[in-house]
């Protein structure tokens, strides 16, 4: 018979701890925040086995006296606030007094600390609720060591990901705070190997250290306006954008937060300046009166509530727009305006009416309509409109010819062309090139390139792929250049690289004009391809605008 009873304190604590400390990265977050609150100028994080074996955060902040240290592991013990009123104006990152006891309740916990004015340091161990306190030699500051995280909370442990993944999350956590506090030195040691070492720096320097020197060179400073509300930081120039929002960081009074709305407000001024579906990079710091923001809305303090949202969102969009002013919008960000104004007139039969084939999945033949800017082909497909990158299309066709279909497989159609070799048929290579070619005659042969040694560093070219337009010398010079670049490859890997190169240098370029018949020939060949959607380098070959999409855009639906 079970009866309702009050949970033992230890059990209750362990459950509550899960709220704050859900995974190693959360421990790191809490400990880093404590270090920052303690005025540290240097924070080191050490982890083993994804933080489960060991987590250690050391700082050179103010440290604690022995009595404070003993109190720190009591629940709801904090030095940061005292009254409920204080909660409204929290300036420190932590304030609840939950972090250390929560962490300590689910791990083998050790605290080593010394306050500046003291000579004796304190070592405090807490295992299974038993605390021992002893004197220890220590530098000023605090070092928290957490071993065997969740050793007594198997359920929690089960939900952890692989150590590699947990390590990655810890890494991200450290990077986030490193971006928030560039004046603090950060160090992360993963399994004994230093993986982050960031000396104190300016905002931009820190950004460069974390995201790369090149990224830093493409960042714009946004100039803060206002006194009570200060928005500052760096945003990327429109030429730099990523496919996800991973590289957008928002800090409110130094606290990293997640906010979809802030991201939207950040991106609004970018519309028309960067391609749709791409996101700018940004580090945005918002500073305001702590009473204007409620930080106590999320157990891990990852979200906040602003009391005057509109002002803040408006301010953000405004400073970003200001910074982007020098970059003109390329197109208006309105869906109705597509840059099809200069489509070449395509003769031929009228396109099928919309209702004839409404099935967006049908894959009938593509009918060439026009070439625009001598770069893209427009084609009517049963499903709607297709826009094809002519270079990528032919590149993929040639690439498949060389690798999948094989020059030999296609003998009939090109029978008259095989063996075609334009002069000079004897080519001279450098010693290095000749050595590589000699060692890989078979790979070349499989690509329809028949080389025959003809004296020192000299080869006779007996056969080339039928589509090669360049002179034999030029073609092979480019091929060998690629080969030298990948001098350590062989077999299929080498074949693949060479085939991609051969396809690329032989395919029509952007800017080559094609007559309609040629366009149609290209489209037909592309439709026969095994993988028509991407070129050998992984870029898209065509994009489709389904009828449904068109109808939606024209507000017919």
């Amino acid at each position: 018979m079970s009866q309702i009873h009050i949970l033992a304190r230890a059990v209750a604590e362990r459950i509550a701890a899960g709220e704050v400390v859900e995974r190693p990265a959360a421990v790191v977050k809490e400990l880093i925040e404590n270090a920052i609150d303690a005025g540290a100028t240097s924070i080191a994080v050490e982890t083993r086995e994804g933080g489960i074996g060991l987590l250690r955060v050391s700082d050179n902040g103010s440290g604690m006296t022995r009595s404070d240290a003993a109190l720190a592991i009591e629940r709801f013990a904090t030095s940061k606030i005292t009254t409920e009123d204080d909660l409204a104006s929290v300036r420190t990152l932590g304030f609840r007094g939950e972090a250390l006891p929560s962490i300590a309740s689910v791990s083998q916990f050790e605290l080593l600390t010394r306050a500046r004015e003291e000579i004796e340091g304190t070592r405090l161990r807490l295992v299974d609720g038993h605390a021992t306190v002893e004197v220890a030699g220590a530098p000023v500051g605090t070092q928290v060591t957490v071993r065997g995280l969740f050793y007594n909370a198997p359920a929690r442990r089960k939900f952890l990901k692989a150590p590699l993944r947990e390590t990655e999350l810890i890494f991200k956590t450290v990077v986030t705070y490193a971006l928030a506090c560039p004046q603090i030195a950060f160090r992360l040691v993963v399994d004994g190997r230093e993986s982050i070492a960031l000396p104190p720096a300016s905002h931009l320097e820190r950004l460069g250290a974390v995201w790369g020197r090149d990224v830093a060179a493409d960042m714009l400073e946004i100039h803060p306006t206002g006194i009570e509300l200060k928005v500052s930081g760096y945003i990327s120039r429109p030429n730099l954008a990523r496919a996800s929002r991973e590289w957008q960081c928002f800090f409110v009074n130094g606290r990293p937060i997640r906010s979809g709305l802030l991201a939207v407000m950040l991106e609004r001024p970018y519309a028309g300046r960067i391609p749709p579906g791409r996101h700018p990079l940004a580090v945005i710091k918002i500073e305001l009166d702590p009473r204007q923001v409620d930080v106590n809305v999320h157990p891990r303090k990852a979200e906040v509530r602003f009391y005057q949202e509109r002002t803040i969102y408006g301010a953000l969009s405004q400073v970003v727009e200001e910074a982007l002013r020098e970059f003109p919008r390329i197109v208006q960000p309105v869906a109705a305006e597509w840059p099809f104004s200069n489509v070449a007139e395509a003769p031929g039969p009228p396109p099928p009416t919309a209702h004839e084939s409404r099935d967006p999945y049908s894959t009938g033949p593509w009918r060439a309509l026009a070439q625009i800017h001598n770069t893209f082909l427009l084609a009517a497909s049963p499903g709607g409109l297709v826009i094809v990158d002519q270079h990528a299309a032919q590149e993929q066709i040639y690439y498949e010819y060389l690798t999948v279909r094989g020059p030999s497989a296609d003998h009939e159609s090109h029978a008259e062309e095989t063996g075609r070799v334009s002069s000079p048929a004897v080519i001279q290579l450098t010693a290095q090139e000749a050595g590589l070619a000699l060692a890989h005659l078979d790979e070349y042969r499989s690509l329809g390139i028949e080389l025959e040694p003809f004296g020192s560093n000299t080869f006779r070219v007996r056969q080339l792929p039928p589509f090669v337009q360049l002179s034999t010398g030029e073609f092979l010079a480019l091929m060998l250049e690629e080969h030298v670049r990948h001098g350590d490859l062989e077999g299929d890997l080498l074949r693949d690289k060479l085939a991609a190169r051969a396809a690329c240098i032989s395919a029509i370029k952007a800017g080559d004009a094609l007559v309609l018949a040629q366009q149609q020939e290209l489209l037909d060949a592309l439709q026969k391809a095994y993988a028509p959607a991407t070129c050998p380098h992984g870029r898209p070959v065509y994009i489709q605008l389904g009828l449904e999409e068109l109808e939606r855009r024209f507000l017919r639906r």
């Binding site: 240097s42 250690r56 050391s58 080593l112 000579i119 004796e120 340091g121 002893e134 004197v135 220890a136 030699g137 220590a138 530098p139 500051g141 070092q143 060591t145 030195a185 004994g192 190997r193 230093e194 070492a197 000396p199 104190p200 720096a201 300016s202 320097e205 460069g208 250290a209 020197r213 830093a216 000079p424 048929a425 004897v426 001279q428 450098t430 010693a431 290095q432 090139e433 025959e452 040694p453 003809f454 004296g455 020192s456 560093n457 000299t458 006779r460 030298v484």
Partner: protein
């Protein structure tokens, strides 16, 4: 009976020219050694000793190595100190019917290596020459020497005389020392004189760690000197005839080498010994040259730098070792995360080998010139502050070719085309480096940038002349870029035309014979041929000459084909020859710029080191020290640069302050138990001083430092025990060295001086040494000891009389029951206990032993208390109980666990020994020393003598 075949006599003739070298004799694909050489090679290289028959009845021992592995075998021989002469075949064996011409192309000794494979990239490789003179007293010494040498050049005229003089015992000796790193062209010379010339020489040699010494035959015969050299580092000693080491010979040789009429520009014209040493080196190098290619080989020794040991902070061998400048102390874990446990190991974040070598030199030669130090510090600051400037610069320096050593190889004519391409790539980065540096505002960086020659002409010469990916072999063609040389282009063109002709021949012959499947082909064995399927082989014309038959085809040649082929081959040969000729020419053209390249290389090395120091400063939180004209050392939260990086997991380094103001606080007596961190603290102060004066930031929160002229350390047990000198003797000789040479501006770091002897002797010596340092020398002193008795020095009368600048500090320790906690903090005051037994327990000594020790300790304590009551006479005159005295001494010597001191016992220590009596004796001696006998009447002398006797007697009672 000894019939000599031509080859044997060829070998013997060569061997006779290099009797002291192992001759590696090229025979086909092998390098062979014969006779005695073969026995040595077989032993040292673990080769099979065979024999070779030269003629009937003439079999000689032989051992050989395959030619493509010869470098690694040479490396091993050089490592073992041998001299190697490499004999090459100078003609193509296929082309001559008679004996192939052979000659020595290179003589290699450990000090004359320039081959990359034989050198360690991050270490200098020094060849050192030493000359010695026992000079007459008086001011005209130098003139006298020069004149003498002019009179009698052949007899080395006293420069190398006095072979019986040992390096330690004599004064009045002067030395000339010259040093060259042939791989980089660094060539320097100096003269060493003064009362401690020998010690200075030893310290300098200790710094240089030469691979080879060149000595005159006379000096080389001095067994004692050679033994001392070998003690510093087991290196080859190469003797040179005395006349080559004389000043006059040197002057002529140097003038000839540098093509100058006078040696004034090199600053050594009036330093005969420096001159003689430099001349000795040059004479040795010339003697070692062989082969025509090396006639200009020493051209890259383009300048001779005359330096003085007084330009740099003097560091003796013990200090370099104790501070772990470049090598860890014995018994310490050597490597962590790829960093050696040494100052160099933790500082080396250089991006180039040139930088790493320069960093080592800077560590070993801290500066004494405030302006130069500040210039370096400002440069480091500029690079530390601007993150992107440093990163960009370091990226540009990353992987930069070792230009410095390349210059040596170019000079020696064994740089290959890839070396030159490497040089070109390095040079192409120079404009970018200059552009990056243009943002820097520090004066030193600006100056370096201004002096950094972009060398565009050299880069463009190489760019025009050589292809980008040349083969390693320089005689096989494929090196020279098209368009560089018209004749070469024409030759290549003709070869290629012939090939076109052969290509066209296929169609022509197909048409002529009607055989569609006829092919003109080529392979390495046959050259060009015509291949016809076997089934059609019968249809070939008459002029087809059958050469070979393979499974499905027949191979033919025709006369036209062979003619053309011969043309091609000869053209190709000519191309190869011409390419080689052109390459050598290009190499010579580049070599002509050796001095410019060297200058650029040195600037790059400096930039690398400055950027490295900035990187370290940022990464590990070092700060810029404030350097000033004073005798202050004021460090806030200082750390030990090496120890903080080698902490055990989870341990954190505890920083400490240190204040020495040169006035009120000059000598720190640091007491505390073993393992409490005394040694680390006193060394960290020394390291911070050294780092600051080499121009580096220091591991501390802040530092204000005056210039220190020398750092002395006397610390720890010395590894010289292995050489049969007792620890104590070494300790005392090092200490006496310190007392004699320390100045007001020196920093003296003493760790447990006196521990090598019995307790009372030890305390007494330590006491007297501390007094001497305080009262006489006045230097900055850190004195770590576990003799608490020394804490009384702070308030001793004679110390107070001399200003009382001794202060007691101790390592904070907390006793917790049987255990002891080290707080690793330096606090004011003296230690109360040694905690020896506590420490022993911490160290894991078996409990049984620890308990027994406690029992013995308490027994000793009570015995000692009794002895103290019995008066000091008993303990001094040997009347103390023998057992107690012995066991006490033994206890101390074994574990050095000092006894607990009670106040009462302290009071009963024979304090008088350290105070009044010694004081009185010293006062008497001082008086004696100050007497001006020349101005004393006999009566005055007697009065004074009486006075002295009275004072000494009074003290004795």
């Amino acid at each position: 009976m000894d019939r000599q075949t031509p080859m044997l006599s060829q070998y013997r003739a060569i061997k006779a020219r290099f009797p002291d070298a192992l001759v590696l004799f090229r025979l086909g694909d092998f390098y062979e050694t014969f006779e005695a050489d073969a026995r040595i090679a077989a032993r040292e290289l673990e080769l099979v000793l065979t024999s070779r028959s030269f003629a009937k009845g003439v079999r000689l021992p032989m051992a050989g190595v395959p030619h493509h592995h010869v470098q690694s075998y040479i490396a091993r021989l050089i490592e073992k100190g041998y001299k190697v002469a490499v004999v090459e075949q100078l003609e193509d064996a296929k082309k001559v019917r008679r004996l192939v011409k052979r000659d020595v192309i290179r003589v290699i000794t450990p000090g004359t290596v320039v081959e990359d494979a034989l050198l360690r990239p991050k270490s200098d490789n020094y060849l050192v020459a030493i000359v010695r003179s026992v000079a007459q007293a008086g001011r005209r010494r130098k003139r006298a020497l020069v004149r003498e040498s002019a009179n009698d050049a052949s007899n080395a005229n006293g420069l190398q005389e006095a072979s019986s003089v040992s390096m330690v015992a004599q004064s009045g000796i002067r030395f000339g020392l010259s040093v060259v790193d042939l791989s980089t062209g660094d060539f320097a010379t100096t003269e060493i004189e003064g009362t401690d010339a020998e010690a200075q020489l030893r310290d300098e040699l200790q710094r240089l760690q030469a691979s080879e010494y060149v000595l005159s035959e006379t000096l080389a015969a001095d067994a004692d000197l050679v033994a001392r050299l070998q003690e510093i580092r087991a290196a080859r000693v190469s003797p040179l005839p005395d006349r080559d080491c004389a000043v006059e010979a040197a002057e002529g040789l140097l003038r000839d080498h540098f093509h100058t009429a006078t040696l004034e520009p090199f600053g050594c014209a009036d330093r005969p010994l420096a001159l003689a040493a430099a001349g000795t080196l040059l004479a040795y190098l010339r003697r070692n040259q062989a082969g025509a290619e090396q006639t200009s080989a020493l051209a890259h020794l383009s300048a001779l730098a005359t330096y003085s040991l007084a330009d740099y902070m003097m560091l003796d061998a013990a200090t370099r070792r104790n501070l772990e400048l470049t090598a860890p102390l014995q018994g310490e874990p050597g490597v962590r995360n790829g960093h050696t446990r040494s100052l160099f190991g933790v500082l080396d974040e250089t991006k180039t080998a040139m930088g790493a070598r320069l960093l080592k030199r800077w560590i070993h030669q801290p500066l004494l010139d405030l302006d130069r130090i500040r210039a370096r510090l400002d440069a480091v600051e500029a690079l530390a502050e601007v993150e992107f400037l440093r990163q960009d610069l370091r990226k540009l320096l990353d992987g930069l070719y070792d230009v410095e050593r390349l210059v040596g190889r170019i000079g020696f004519g064994n740089a290959n085309a890839r070396d030159l391409i490497g040089l070109k790539r390095a040079l192409l980065r120079l404009p970018k480096i200059k552009q990056t540096l243009a943002q820097a505002r520090a004066a030193l960086l600006r100056d370096l940038n201004a002096r950094l020659d972009p060398l565009e002409d050299v880069a463009s010469l190489i760019d025009r002349a050589l292809v980008d990916d040349p083969p390693i072999l320089v005689r096989e063609g494929g090196l020279i870029a098209p368009g560089y040389h018209t004749d070469l282009d024409a030759l290549r063109e003709s070869a290629s035309e012939s090939k076109q002709w052969l290509h066209a021949l296929e169609e022509h012959e197909q048409a002529r014979t009607g055989i569609k499947s006829l092919r003109v082909r080529y392979n390495e064995v046959f050259g060009f041929f015509i291949e016809v399927p076997r089934s059609l082989a019968g249809n070939v014309p008459k002029n087809y000459e059958r050469r070979a038959t393979i499974s499905h085809a027949e191979r033919f040649v025709i006369p036209e084909l062979k003619t053309r082929e011969a043309q091609i081959l000869s053209a190709e040969d000519r191309v190869k020859d011409l390419e080689y000729e052109l390459f050598v020419q290009v190499r010579r053209l580049v070599a002509a710029h050796a001095a410019r390249l060297q200058t650029a290389a040195r600037i790059l090395a400096q930039l690398d080191v400055l950027a490295c120091l900035a990187e370290i400063a940022k990464r590990y939180g070092y700060v810029k020290p404030l350097m000033e004209e004073s005798d202050t050392i004021e460090i806030r939260e200082g750390r030990h640069a090496v120890v903080e990086r080698f902490m055990r997991e989870g341990e954190a380094f505890v920083p400490n302050d240190c204040l020495l103001d040169g006035e009120a606080q000059r000598v720190l007596i640091l007491t505390g138990p073993n393992m409490s961190g005394k040694s680390v603290f006193i060394r960290q102060v020394a390291l911070i001083v050294l780092l600051a004066q080499m121009g580096s930031f220091v591991p501390a929160a802040s530092a204000r430092l005056g210039l220190t002229d020398r750092i002395f350390t006397r610390a720890g047990a010395s590894d010289e025990i292995a050489q049969g000198r007792s620890t104590f003797l070494v300790e005392m000789s090092e200490t006496s060295h310190i007392l004699r040479h320390a100045t007001l501006h020196s920093l003296v770091v003493l760790d447990e001086v006196g521990r090598g002897t019995s307790t009372y002797d030890g305390i007494s010596l330590a006491w007297a040494i501390a007094e001497e340092l305080h009262n006489r020398v006045g230097c900055k002193t850190l004195f770590a000891t576990h003799y608490h008795e020394l804490t009384q020095l702070e308030s001793a009368e004679n110390i107070l009389a001399q200003g009382g600048a001794i202060r007691n500090y101790t390592m904070a320790v907390k006793e917790q029951g049987h255990s002891v906690v080290f707080l690793r903090q330096v606090i004011r005051g003296g230690a109360e206990k040694s905690f020896g037994i506590h420490v022993a327990r911490l160290a894991g000594l078996p409990a049984r032993v620890v308990e027994r020790a406690e029992a013995v300790l308490s027994a000793l304590e009570s015995e000692r208390a009794r002895a103290a009551e019995g008066g000091r006479g008993a303990s001094e005159e040997g009347g103390r109980p023998a057992t107690a005295a012995h066991s006490q001494e033994r206890a101390r010597e074994q574990g050095e666990y000092a006894l607990t001191q009670s106040e009462r016992m302290l009071a009963n220590e024979p304090r008088i020994l350290f105070d009044s009596r010694v004081q009185a004796w010293q006062a008497a001696l001082r008086q004696l020393a100050e007497i001006d006998i020349a101005n004393l009447t006999p009566v005055q002398a007697l009065v004074m003598l009486n006075d002295l006797q009275v004072r000494v007697r009074a003290a004795a009672e």
